[in-house]
Amino acid sequence: MAPSGSRPARRRAALGVTSALVAASLLAACGGGSSADTDDQGTDVPHGTITHLTHVDPSTFDDFVAKFKEKYPEVEDVKIERLTDYATEAKTRMSTDDYGDVLGIPAGTNNDQLPDFFEPLGTREELSKTYRWLTKTYDGQVYGIADLGNAQGFLYNKKVWANAGITEFPTTPEEFLDDLQRIKDTQPDVIPFCTNYKDGWVIGAWEGYRGSVSHDPDYVNKLPEMDAPWSDGHDHEVMDGLLYDIVARGLIEPDPTTATYDETKIKIGAGEIATMGVGSWAVARAGKDIAKAGLDPDDLGYMPFPAQVDGTFYTVTGPDVTLAINKHSQNKVTARAWLDFLEEEGLSAAMGGLSPRLDGPVPEQLKDFADQVALFELAPAPVGKESLVNDISTASGIVLNDGKYRQQIIDDARSGARTKQQVFDDLNAAWAKGRAEVLG
């Protein structure tokens, strides 16, 4: 590097000005597109082209697009755009105005931010007559409707469980552990339980068991008042305790750090894995991949979290991804028509999930499960406290919906670095600290 001090200062100034101009003109060029107002909302008939951002295989929508265009001849096209790292990419795009017309609300969006980004779809009062799981609600207004619903239980291989002589769903965590042990004893080549440790999003979904243990629709709403959710038999203690015990008793895969979900979903179909904790969406979606691999998707079954209240299994159902309309969309009429069309024509059924519509059917693959389990949904957060749980979870550093803290539990259970009680004490301390920070 030549020392810059020997050059005339005048030249450096000129350089600065020129490049600033270039930068400015580039910036102006970027901004120009979005400021041009080509709003054509004068007409109420769906028309033109819209874009739908999704995390799933675009071909899922092929039939829907064709039928939609049939119904509304003036619609030119519905472009389906798949984002691979959905939440991160969608959030980045949401810092501009250009994030499609219809899109799934990315994880990590707080409810109090919804009005900044999305079009209100109606009041909760009114929409709750048709739809379940209106969790994306702020100030009484609904901003998103689920594409499909999930129950959070356990995916299992029916043959393996039957070979171990188990015919009934386990009713307590202890019984669940015994059953896994029995599978290990009778079929030493089978992995009784696969944690899917490597894929944070799978292990993060354990958070979906909350509420199912206690059959308390208000469990999540009570979290901000709890100083120690990992104690006294609260849901978090039961579910994370089960995870710790499964790992500590050596009922999991030998090396959790390497296997990806793409591998384990085939292995469970092949009977090399007996059980995994994934949402009910997996029955249909993993089933498809298993069939492609030449295995029998009917071997897959779904069981509830091993806890009963008065002799009944209760399982929480919730939305998978919530579809919303971009506040800055130039074609909101068509976007709304497309969203309603997807809900009415059964996108959820096509994807093998529970229907968000109150009158929607239970998909074939989940009938067996739904017959033995009472499904219920969590109560919506009270008005004004929609973001509270999220805020505490972030401030505490635990980040409930992220897989990281459960990976830590698995690490500790494998190495014995912390006992179960130490893990819970640390989590309780962090939660109390987060609570103090948020509630002041």
Partner: protein, 321 residues
């Protein structure tokens, strides 16, 4: 032929003005040149500088701004919180614990330098297929870090390539859970890092060694020096600045490890590095403000290390940097 060479040797006016040539040469150009001609170099230089400002300095400035706000990556409003994020970045035990992982990479970097020096010394003497060996040693550095992660992910997983080789050699007993064993995971990942970066160290050492005049060795040999003496008394003293530079690069590299562990374990099983934690803080914990502060802390740490190096090794000796 000579004509062509001469023309090629002469730098184009634009290149000369772009900052490569000494200032004195420009001063010789006639003062009465039309302004348009004088503008030409700036037009050329404006494009790369503009892009640099737009895509490097502007985002960095933004990062400094985010680091003093409570932004979550999405909110329309960013509240100023002063130095709270810096306090959190430097006091949260989880943020500091991850620096401990860097020690593995630093130790690995020392091994890597030793290996690189060994190969560079051997290959600076007459060896059969010298260029082929050089190519083989340098090649891993050319592979993208993510690809390296993928390759080794499959290589070290249970029943993967490494286990197969060990079994074939009859060393079944040596098989471990290379990334699953908490005591071993960082060693495995650091070894991958050695595999990847050794080539760069090697090339730098080789360049330095080859700039040592041949006569030195000849004179030494006349005085009865063997190869070992040559290494200790001629090669090492001559390349001391390069060794110093490599050491600094090793420290700043160990602080900012990212790709290989991120792809292979995503920071699981106690292999989390500072940068992995920064990314997690920004995009999973949704605290972009705090993550920006962490990034600034890392930047300052690396600058500090570089500054110390500049003090220890006089600048003129490391101009190859």
């Amino acid at each position: 032929m000579t004509n062509v060479l001469q023309r090629a040797d002469r730098p184009a006016p634009a290149a000369r003005a772009a900052g490569a040539g000494p200032a004195g040469r420009l001063a010789r150009t006639p003062a009465r040149r039309p302004w348009r001609q004088r503008l030409v170099p700036y037009v050329f230089v404006a494009v790369p500088v503009g892009l640099l400002l737009l895509f490097t300095y502007w985002p960095v400035l933004n990062m400094f701004w985010y680091s003093v706000t409570d932004w979550d990556g999405l909110d329309k409003t960013k509240n100023f919180v002063g130095l709270d994020n810096y306090a959190a970045a430097l006091t949260e035990p989880d943020n500091l614990r991850v620096f401990y992982v860097s020690l593995y990479y630093f130790a690995a970097a020392l091994v890597q330098m030793a290996l690189a020096l060994y190969f560079a010394t051997v290959l600076s003497f007459k060896v059969r297929f010298r260029n082929m060996w050089k190519g083989i040693l340098f090649f891993p550095y050319l592979i993208n870090g993510v690809a390296v992660g993928m390759i080794f992910l499959n290589f070290v997983k249970p029943d993967g390539g490494l286990d197969t080789v060990l079994t074939a050699l009859g060393l079944e007993g040596a098989i471990r859970q290379w990334t699953g064993d908490p005591a071993l995971v960082n060693v495995t990942l650091a070894s991958v890092s050695v595999w990847r970066y050794m080539g760069l160290n090697f090339v730098m050492f080789l360049g330095a060694i080859q700039s040592i005049p041949r006569e030195m060795y000849e004179a030494a040999e006349l005085d009865g020096a063997n190869r070992w003496h040559e290494l200790w008394l001629i090669i090492l003293p001559s390349i001391r600045p390069i060794v110093g530079l490599q050491l600094i690069l090793a420290i700043s590299g160990a602080l900012s490890v990212f790709e290989v562990p991120y792809v292979m374990t995503a920071g699981g099983n106690g292999s989390e590095t500072f940068v992995i934690r920064t990314v997690w803080t920004a995009f999973s914990r949704n605290m972009v403000g705090l993550a920006s502060a962490m990034a600034v802390v890392l930047l300052v740490a690396v600058l500090l290390v570089t500054w110390v190096q500049r003090r220890l090794v006089p600048e003129r000796q490391v101009d190859i940097a």
